[in-house]
Symmetry: C2
Amino acid sequence: MAELVFVGLGLGPGSLPHGALDAIKACDMIFLERYTAPVPDDEISRLSKLTGRAIEELDRTAVEKGDAIIDVAKKGRAALLVPGDPMAATTHLSLRMRAAAESISVRIIHASSVFSAIPGILGLQHYKFGRTITVPFHREGFAPTSPYESLVKNTEAGQHTLALLDIDAEKGRYMTSREGIEALMTMEKKVGGDLLARGALCCIVARAGHGDCAIRAGPVQEMLRFDAGEPPHSLVFPAALHFLEAEALVAFAGAPKEILKGK
Amino acid sequence: MAELVFVGLGLGPGSLPHGALDAIKACDMIFLERYTAPVPDDEISRLSKLTGRAIEELDRTAVEKGDAIIDVAKKGRAALLVPGDPMAATTHLSLRMRAAAESISVRIIHASSVFSAIPGILGLQHYKFGRTITVPFHREGFAPTSPYESLVKNTEAGQHTLALLDIDAEKGRYMTSREGIEALMTMEKKVGGDLLARGALCCIVARAGHGDCAIRAGPVQEMLRFDAGEPPHSLVFPAALHFLEAEALVAFAGAPKEILKGK
């Protein structure tokens, strides 16, 4: 038995699939990462109690190096707990490849993820979403404009855009909706665009899948002033709306009624 | 207390979020639909045992009419169990809107979904997926070519395409990977395209999120002959691959090694 089980914790407390509890209990060691999304300390204690097992946190370097996990999996069974869906972050693909190369069998227990949850929270249709973008924190020598350019391309093609916001786990920093909008506005100025300047509709989703999930929609300049509270936050920029989608944004997210008439 | 809880069953047995068990137990009536994806009878019995509650199945007409659910939710608490993520299917948006209009508070318990799971199962990057398409069964007077056209547009823009396959729950029919590929080939002939005829790479994902999930990748003509077994099936047509993505398809899905050199 050489096995590595990737287990999704899903979005927020209580989201771990119930079938995963037995799978976790059967493992020799249980590792956890929380650099791809926040997991509060008390949620880790709760999981430890539920499964009756100690949970060892690994940082990004340790997960990417992978030795600690592979050593356990080679001789028995290891679990890696991952926020959201366990294979949504590309960072875990290398570990899975390495396990396969060492003849360790891999099992994936899927869970809820922003990719599937956010369109539905807003009442928007999955089929109308184009490519997802990620808005990065400003780093020395790293100032891409490609996220903004993808947003414009999606919008012109009539496709909604999900914008994921950066996380700097080491510093405990989660990009807020405001910082995300500002970063996109900076990119827009750099490339000389006007989508946002013209008052594009913007949706904020705060704490998707948590009990206190909050959503808000309106012109991007207004959303820039909106305080969405605790992280994580995500943004959605809808393209042309179906009538039902517009109704949902007005009913659930406080969008202005003018969007019901089209723009 | 007037509440309607949309509960995601996730993909396959054991995928219900563990926190949903208490939420379900607290409801006056528990409804279930399985017309947006299959849920086996024994999974319903298992859920009924786990929660200690009877589960009443509603067909599409009853869910879309909504009266049975709204009547319970108005006076207390109703749950609607939905395969996958409960808000991924657009069919439930109307019920949510009606609940809001009748001052019934709505709670959403998210779960795993093909939208988030399938890219990761194949080792493909979420960020590289364009618009999702759905391949419909042939129906009298309904023969759209738009799914094929969206596939071509995604591919030309360097974006992968997830193709969901149709379900006819009344007839218990689930489109197989073979039928899906055939339908897309028919559309291609109709519009005079050649993406598939030229041997595009195609991935089959059968039973995503189930214990016996199977994946396979190769030229579309070869995939046409592949028997993927029990439904549900989905297809993915990758555009230009990152080297790691190509490696993953070779390692996990039996894709030909030539894709490692680019095409």
